[in-house]
């Protein structure tokens, strides 16, 4: 047994890190490190830089721009990006729609949609959750009724991240309302966000940010050629995609960077005339998170080692999601705690030109990160998956 990266893997990691040092724009990195809001332009800029390098979609088949890296290399790359403070890639096109097209799409669909996703010309969002269909996704009610060569879509999606700047949305819709099982009669449609009848309404989260939306469909016409896979058979597609969604939720590299940031921040804060990081109570909490993260990074590598042979990921991704998000939340909580009373301010009132925006970002960030144990399949659902599929309960 050897828990270290091989010589080749280390060389690869160095190559990636060096490239990131030279090509990650300082202003974007600074925005990420200071927890500032990233605009569509920011996200697109970083996407283009990676696309030009040929690294924007490592997991894709090589003929479409993939890098032919193995799972360990892909992990090394993702973690190096997170660690360096690179902006996130919007996952809905690259990591969700594209894998579906590779597995279920027609040649024409691949040719039409993949290139714009790769180049960052088209941003996508995900039309999954509905007001009555969250954890119980299969009870979705948005309908698509076929009229000749078009579907007419009616209904509502909710919690749709990035819908306010996305060009396309992939949607689960019900094409056969009379189906016996609720998992039957579901189809997968690709819908241009500019189609008449689509309304996007912002949903402001508790930190005051606009990330997610409600998307309303009112007699929205979608060409039948935009349906992926067979009509009514797309519950398989939905499940396939959810597995991909959860592959990237552990975010170990990002947490490692945040942990270092926390240590640095806590050594600048003072308690009882000493750096806070020397306070035994605070240090213990920080150490516990560090140990959890250490364990998770090795657990993750162990799982990757098993997947190297090409086996599809199973319930272990649920475990990574649970622990990864718990660690992310603990880190935001400790940052807020480290700031102490200085974490109270949220927004300046007119005329206040001495407002410390970084300090004021810590508590809202803690609030915002409560979402991580809810989104992409709540941690309760992940535990159900492990109980059912891994343990046979």
């Amino acid at each position: 047994m050897d828990l270290n990266y091989s010589v080749e893997e280390r060389a690869f990691r160095d190559e990636v890190s060096e490239w990131l040092r030279d090509h990650l724009p300082a202003d974007l990195r600074q925005k990420v490190l200071e927890y500032r809001h990233l605009t569509r332009d920011d996200l697109q800029r970083w996407h283009s830089i990676l696309a030009q390098k040929g690294w924007v979609a490592p997991s894709w088949p090589q003929q479409w721009g993939g890098t032919d890296w193995n799972v360990v290399q892909r992990y090394i790359f993702d973690e190096a990006c997170g660690y360096a403070g690179a902006p996130p890639l919007v996952p809905f096109g690259l990591l969700m729609c594209a894998p579906v097209l590779f597995k279920f799409g027609t040649q024409a669909q691949k040719e039409r949609f993949l290139r714009p996703i790769y180049c960052g010309d088209a941003f996508w969002c995900q039309g999954y959750s509905e007001p009555g269909a969250g954890s119980d996704l299969a009870s979705l009610r948005t309908t698509a009724v076929r009229h000749g060569d078009r579907y007419v879509v009616n209904g509502q999606k909710i919690w749709t991240t990035a819908a306010h700047f996305a060009d396309w949305i992939f949607c689960l819709v019900r094409t056969s309302p009379a189906a016996e099982r609720k998992q039957d009669g579901i189809s997968f449609l690709l819908i241009d966000m500019r189609t008449p009848g689509i309304t996007v309404r912002p949903l402001i989260l508790m930190d005051g940010e606009h990330e997610v939306n409600e998307v309303f469909f009112d007699d929205v016409e979608v060409p039948v050629e935009n349906r992926v896979h067979d009509e009514g058979k797309s519950w398989t597609v939905a499940k396939y995609l959810l597995g991909h969604e959860r592959m990237n939720t552990a975010r170990i590299g990002t947490s490692q960077r945040e942990l270092e940031h926390l240590k640095e921040f806590a050594s600048m804060q003072r308690k009882n005339a000493k750096p806070l990081i020397d306070d035994p109570r605070f240090r213990d909490k920080l150490s516990h998170v560090e140990i959890e993260l250490m364990a998770l990074s090795i657990t993750n590598l162990r799982f990757l080692d098993q997947l190297r042979g090409g086996r599809a990921p199973g319930a272990e991704v649920s475990m990574l999601k649970i622990k990864g998000t718990e660690i992310q939340q603990a880190l935001t909580e400790l940052m807020m705690e480290a700031a102490g009373p200085a974490a109270q301010p949220f927004a300046p009132v007119a005329g206040n030109d001495r407002f410390d925006r970084f300090m004021a970002s810590l508590a809202p960030r803690y609030c915002n990160y409560r979402k991580t144990t809810i989104y992409a399949g709540s941690n309760e659902i992940q535990r159900n998956i492990i109980a059912k599929h891994a343990l046979g309960l």
Binding site: W159, M206, V349, A360, T373, I374
Partner: protein
Amino acid sequence: MNFDPSEEQRLFAASIERFVARDYTFETRRHVVASHDGYSRDVWAALADLGLLAVAIPTEYGGLGGGAGDLTSVMEAIGEALIVEPFLATVMGSRFVARTGTLEQKNSLLPAVASGKLTLAFAHSEQGARYDLAHVTTRARKTGAGFTIDGDKRVVLHGPCARTLVVSVRLAGDDTDQEGIGLFLVSTDVPGVSLAASRTLDELRAADIFFADVHVPANALLGETTCALSTIEDVVDYATALVCSEAVGAIRFANSATLDYLKTRKQFGVPIGSFQALQHRMVDMVIEYEQAKSMASLACATVDAETDPVRRKRIVSAAKIRVADACRRVSQESIQLHGGMGMSDELKISHTFRRLTMIAQQFGDADHHLERFASL
């Protein structure tokens, strides 16, 4: 032993609950926090009319002579409704005056507080002080017949709403010495006082307050004392007991909203409250509530009756630790059990989360109080 509220306490509770139900809906609050001042003068006047601003003022100064025990239900109602008006800050300020003020100071301030004409705030915390009450670097030196104050205060809760501040200053000694701290009454419109205002995470108004060469007369020194730390500890413990009660109210709302959600939200064809994994978590939240309520009651009773400061500090710290843990657990679980809805700014539950998060650290977080509890 008798845990029942007195007749008078029942009346206070009933009057504020009626007021909240009629005049302080979540929608009202939304307008109030977005307004210029961040609090409503109408609401303040209504609280005065109900006699609630007089509860804690001694009878000889136009008050009702009540203690923390009499304010318990008021604080719970404030927590439940997320009232943002400067009630606690004003109660703290008036307790400073009542405890240490000269007759003249009491006469000029306390009746005005009781009738709703005067709002107060305690300008104490400073950069780097964290929760150490003895950390005071704002200096006052004797100049002519009065004093001159220089220094900065940070995140003074309800500072922008106050007409008069109780300001802690260092008259002698080093930055964190126990001795040599004084308290001044300073109007916010005195030359040299400037405010940088903000909204806090829980939608209260706060201010960094800067004192540059601020001249105050000799009679602005509260109680003519240069040894105010024990008074500060007394008042902050009193306020901590009250904020524990406020937390109890906020937790009660969080629990009832969450329970309601578990019963009404359906997934997989059944209410999500039928899942045992969620039932047990809801039960734990209810246990947290009961434990927090017990400790808040104990803390309020203690600050009213306990004459030994060491025993008082131990109990108040114990209560704050227990309540902070309950704040954390209930707030986090209530959002998680609400799912995406809990993250939405539109729902009151997310604002209760924000208030509970801030109460957990107000007047010292659990670590701070653990340290104090264990050392006594």
